[in-house]
Amino acid sequence: MTNHWVDIKNANVIIVMGGNAAEAHPCGFKWVTEAKAHNHATFIVVDPRFTRSASVADLYAPLRTGTDIAFLGGVVNYLLSNDKIQHEYVKAYSNAPFIVAEGYRFDDGLFSGYDEAARTYDKSTWAYETGPDGYAKVDETLQHPRCVLQLLKQHYSRYTPEVVSNICGTPRDTFLKVCEIIATTSAPDRTLTFMYALGWTQHSVGSQMIRTAAMVQLLLGNVGMAGGGVNALRGHSNIQGLTDLGLLSDLLPGYLTLPREKETDYQGYIAKRALKPLRPGQMSYWQNYAKFHVSLMKSWFGDAATKENNWCFDWLPKLDKVYDVLQVFELMHQGKLNGYFCQGFNPLAAIPNKAKLSGAMAKLKYLVVIDPLATETSCFWENHGEYNNVDPAKIPTEVIRLPSTCFAEENGSLTNSGRWLQWHYQGAPPPGDAKPDADIIAGIFLKLRELYRKEGGAFPDPILNLAWNYRIPHSPAPEELAMEYNGKALADLADPKEPTKVMVMKGQQLDGFAQLRDDGSTACGCWLYSGAWTEKGNMMARRDNSDPSGLGNTINWAFAWPANRRVLYNRASCDPSGKPWDPKRKLIGWDGAKWSGADVPDFKPDSAPGDGMGPFIMQPEGVGRLFALDKMAEGPFPEHYEPFETPIDTNPLHPKVISNPAARVFKGDIEAFGKSKDYPYAATTYRLTEHFHFWTKHTSLSSIMQPEQFVEISVELAREKGIKAGDRVKVWSSRGFIKAVAVVTKRIKPLKVNGKTVHHVGIPIHWGFKGIAKIGYLANILTPFVGDANTQTPEFKSFLVNIEKA
């Protein structure tokens, strides 16, 4: 989230789209009802289903699953053509005035530079026009035909209300009503907040859906404002933390990135990431990349990381491609993986196309599952009849299952979607012999290290030299680990302003990432988390919930990254002269000498408004990007592409380019996609408020609340198919079938799309062949093996099925 949960109460308009906060995040959703009750906010839900969020909305707009870019593109068009943008903000804080390089084009569904064979773009034309000084060119009048604003207008002029209604199935009047309400927040003293989750990410164009919302927010001047922003609600309790800590194939902690195999030169690796400002006077904070990177390597490899060996740069594995889960299971399916570890992850249920996954896992030599619960993944080799029809005798995989603790049995911190790191405490011992994850990892690692020490083997250096100075080596304490990722001084650090003064003494905890050095005198496991455990102690355990500003920032509660900042980009909540756009919701302001206020400024604290530094300090140009340059895989402007399994067989905008031309998809899977003549119904999977993924079916209370697998269909479809509420139905896609109870509801309505009636089939995901709830089918039996072009997140939200009475 750019903002945080409590901040939602400051909004004037709230849109839940691509998510269902009332069901998936009920306790955070309270800040929506709070905004309605005490800020007289208007609440809008846009969703294929009339969800529990919609049940308390002022306005509900239906749309066909997977068409959010068309909808939001229509909003962009509405705002531009009705002049409902916040001009001063757009001009000063977005790249609207920037001039785009001449080669950039968009024709008939494709941007310039497409390579059809590789399904990728050469993005060199998606760039700014630069001057001889190396800076990007701008046109303050916003009239240049190649300035971003003009290109934006041109791109979205196609998204008229009629086109939107035709693609999305949203009634035109409803769509326009939504636009009108959104448009009211272009006033500087009104804000809109977008709340989304996996309803946006789980599409082949998921990242671009989110980007479209971000663009709407930039045009309205709502980014950086209290009650504004683009808010990813996120799924798991620490999904934010694990992302921040970089537990992804191509990342290192703190959004540092692993080198590609072409980047064998350390200096080149740093230079590419330490971005120089694209406009004069900009901060371009990534210029500090080397400080973060060197401190990380010191944290991991200790004394072995030296300037001479480029801080062990060679020890980091180099990427030839991104090994996301879809790629990994594709390789596993091809028999190219021998071993796999699943730590608190149930991929047999959580990745699409169960049949493919199950076949892939049976090709593994060994599988290690670390989990508090008996997951389907650990039991993938067990026969459970129709629910998991495999022959154990034919599965040669060695499976080792290791019991881990759950939240209640360990100390530690979790990072919520508002970026708060909160510490928790152990309340009871684990059951049986279960161990904390850290102990299990330590146990495995130390054994492996012992083997390498004794036997030698392939490139043992990083394993032998990994810094492991924990008091009890086989049981690293959470407190030690937290202190490690916060960072400490490895030598006395001098104050840069007064070099004779020692700012931090050797061995002391650092106060924050501003103290990091690139000369090896600091160690820090995750620069973004620096400040979480300082010399003052554990900042994540702070419990002062006072809120003097009334905006809900509670800055002495726990610790928020970065630097305990609660609202990102909060410099943008003030006009260029440093005065808040809305004095009633003042986050920070220029007090004549520095920036101060109810939040930690997301800015250089002493940079006066006149200096012209832009509020988006992580960007080399200092402003928000309406034009994404080369940062997105499928284009600098979001474009509507149909789901890979589309119920209308075409893309009304450009029939030749139907689906995302750069999406993550493998050849065998493309051929297996269902067509609407065999699978006429648009299906979407989702969570229910009673359950959490595949855990709570192991929980008695949750299983009582929603005991048995079901699917939701409209009254109309039920009538067509002769299905009554409570009947058992069979739902199948080109990948397999499930059987479940039919819930027939008025909350799903057929939509008129491109001259055709489109029915939705809603498929909650929570059941499987393990658990104490009624045994059911894993819903990913149905879902397609295709992912977003940027995040590779699978398209769980839009695919095709057929249905009949079982």
């Binding site: 959703f29 969020s53 009582i704």
Partner: protein, 293 residues
């Protein structure tokens, strides 16, 4: 009688006044249906706090589950998809004991002290005194109490009398994510409800209102309804609930009248005997058969 943190207004089947000198503030739970998202947190928190667990059931083609109140489910969400002039509305009502000021269950209960009403308004079942006759079920205008198959005692929401007694809110009110359930003194709750009604009216719900039915003397669980003129839209919430005439007759007038009638028969017989003497064989006939003696 040990703890009396909550003073007693009424006790079932008890003919003498209960200790009721102290007056604790009257409390109420307000359920704002317009804020309710039907998440069932209240159902879970209720079971968790009260250490009950219902059976893991089946799906009946609706989201409601458990589908009805049971001895283990003291509250359930009832989901109604209603088409109004505003389009589709999903009216989700938390059902459970209303804690009537004039409780039909207590009136019907024959077991002394099995049902008590505290001066704060909570109507509580004391299962150790319950004899399992189910008369409270017969007496309840909202169809709330449920008889346990396991122990043949009747169970229902206690408004967490144990929590309220130590100054805490009920488990459901505490857990409610959106603040659809709030708890406080009845006066505060009515004030809050009034604010909510105003907000709803400003959003076009002209008939928004408070459900605090006077037929049962008002309740200590009150609703804010978007359509207070049509409570039956909310999964058959009774429009004018009251202790019905049959129950009134059965447990009201009938008792003293019948007891008096029986007493009258006894007294009448006694008087008759005393005044008329025994009905013996007459002297004449006795003489007739004297020889047979």
């Amino acid at each position: 009688m040990a703890l009396q943190s909550l003073d007693i207004t009424r006790r079932s089947a008890t003919t003498t006044p209960s200790p009721s000198q102290r007056q604790t503030p009257e409390v109420a739970k307000l359920i704002d249906v317009s804020k309710c998202i039907g998440c069932k947190a209240c159902q879970v928190a209720c079971m968790e706090w009260n250490d009950t667990r219902d059976a893991i059931g089946t799906n009946h083609g609706v989201l409601d589950n458990p589908t009805d109140l049971t001895e283990n489910s003291w509250t359930v969400m009832r989901y109604a998809e209603v088409e109004t002039d505003r389009g589709l509305e999903w009216l989700i009502r938390k059902d459970g004991c209303m804690h009537c000021a004039n409780p039909g269950c207590l009136k019907a209960c024959p077991a002394p002290g099995a049902i008590v009403q505290y001066s704060n308004g909570i109507v509580d079942f004391h299962e150790e005194n319950c004899i399992g006759c189910g008369y409270c079920i017969t007496g309840c205008p909202f169809n709330i109490p449920r008889l346990s198959k396991k122990d043949s005692k009747v169970y229902k929401c206690t408004l967490c009398s144990d929590r309220v007694a130590v100054g805490l809110e009920p488990a459901c009110a505490k857990t409610c994510p959106t603040g659809a359930i709030v708890f406080g003194t009845k006066a505060d709750m009515l004030r809050h409800a009034e604010e909510r009604v105003q907000d709803l009216k400003s959003r076009g719900f002209a008939k928004a209102g408070i459900y605090d039915p006077q037929g049962v003397g008002g309740t200590h669980v009150i609703y804010v309804l978007q359509h207070a003129d049509r409570p039956e839209m909310y999964s058959d919430l009774p429009r004018n609930p009251s202790i019905g005439p049959l129950v009134e007759l059965w447990k009201g007038a009938a008792k003293p009248v019948a007891s008096l009638a029986l007493a009258a028969i006894g007294v009448g017989a006694f008087v008759h005997y005393v005044t008329k003497g025994p009905n013996e064989v007459s002297e004449e006939i006795e003489k007739e058969f004297e020889d047979e003696k």
